[in-house]
Assembly symmetry: C3
Homo-oligomer: 201 residues x 3
């Protein structure tokens, strides 16, 4: 279960990394590196913070193969890049949903408090994109626009609420992942965003 989900999230994030790197005119290896850090950055931070080393992607080659495969795919189909805008958004949204819940569950097995687990899940989901934006010299998009980390936090909260019900763990996993995805889709569809606290004058 975990396994397949990690792979799907990895594909989603790798492709999102390739597309940003392409727009920055990077060379193929630059693109691959951005794809790689976008895909594994969040999980790597998660593993380092809880002391689970060597980090996941070093112990399981599948991640590396999937990232290289997705990157080559994304590079080959770059001319269709405008069609991919929507897919990119969907991939990314599915990715953060999956990573949030995986992060939450890793926190639980490390014996951490629910609040910390939610923070860990949110970081797992968002940090890959943050590091992608830092490497591309931009203020990370998640700090400025759209419901993004908010969706992850809501998903993490749902996880602990739903878990109290007498239902299967896999169902808890899926529902809370869907909460993240639904929150983001609804927010973007209806242009809902957190109010900026900054006043122009």
């Amino acid at each position: 279960m975990f396994y397949t989900i990690d792979i799907l999230g990895t594909i989603a994030f790798a492709i999102s990394g390739v597309l940003v790197a392409l727009s920055k005119k990077m060379d193929p290896f630059g693109i691959l590196i951005i794809a790689f850090v976008t895909a594994v950055g969040g999980g790597t931070l998660r593993d380092i913070l809880i002391g689970d080393t060597p980090v996941s992607w070093m112990k399981n080659l599948t991640f590396t193969y999937v990232i290289i495969g997705s990157s080559v795919f994304a590079i080959l189909f770059k001319s269709k890049i405008d069609y991919l805008r929507t897919s990119l958004f969907l991939f990314d949204t599915i990715g953060i949903g999956l990573y949030t819940v995986v992060g939450v569950e890793k926190g639980i097995s490390a014996g951490l408090h629910p609040i910390i687990c939610i923070a860990l899940g949110t970081m797992s989901a968002c940090f890959g994109g943050v590091i992608r934006d830092i490497l591309c010299n931009e203020i990370p998009v998640i700090f400025r626009k759209e419901i993004y980390a908010t969706a992850c936090i809501l998903g993490g909260l749902s996880y602990f609420l739903i878990k109290k019900l007498p239902i299967d763990n896999n169902v808890v996993f899926i529902i809370s992942g869907l909460v993240v995805i639904a929150t983001r889709l609804i927010a973007v569809r209806f242009k809902i965003s957190l109010p900026s606290l900054y006043k122009e004058d």
Copy 2:
């Protein structure tokens, strides 16, 4: 002792993070994240480098509560932001003083050499601000202006010098923290800075 001090430093850094994030027009969760990384960034780096995981803030919820509380406080009083400029500076200065000494003592308990302990203390104190500036897409202020890391290094040196005297450990802690704070206050008051080594032509 340690405990209260860590909390004070956390408040100081969280508020400094909120103020910078506000000036970048971030949304509430962006602000919270910047507050969080500013507050725990240095301690997290310290813990990761010496292998003390899960990192401090994951094992002790107080940090999280304090950061959320301080952020809400800072956001509510944002209209008084100009009055807060001086307080921000003072908070930040107290913060680096406290974090430097906590970092030095953590290095000592990990059995590291005094020079490395001083480096660890300086990093604990400065890294939160560095990561805050990176996330906000600016060259970290500590590399360009004012006596900042220098104050931490002097404080760390004092720690090991004073420790040789026959006085209580808490006194050593306080005095070396005050050395950091005094150095920075004096430097800013009298506009002392390290000479730039760069010549215009």
Copy 3:
């Protein structure tokens, strides 16, 4: 063997850090910090990812002395900075050659798969420069220009190919380091670079 090589790479990277920091008008401690992170950043990431903590430079003071010494040297001779351009390039190239192979060998002793070892070597070699560029608020040069990471990957591949031959481990080490160095020198000499995948329109 390892020891001397780590030192040489450290000198190379520290000086490259000083030169970039000088061009950003940083103060002496800013310069020292940039020199430090450029020199130890890659090795630190390597050690953290495989869980070998406290990280190398904390356990062995030589790195710190060498970095401070090299930085002072580079600052003193800054007026000769134009003469140093070529040396900087050579130092940097030797540095990535050495760090790549050290990283690969650390990966092998951590029991990791060859592909992961190559990635670890490449990160060890490149991450110091990446973090230097991030701290100086630039898109890391390795993602945009020249054969750089590519040279490290080729060197890592050579390591595992040559290792199959019945020759001494030190020779394997030297040859694969030279592959990195030669690849980069040839690429720069003949202005070879990876094709950009971005089309202007």
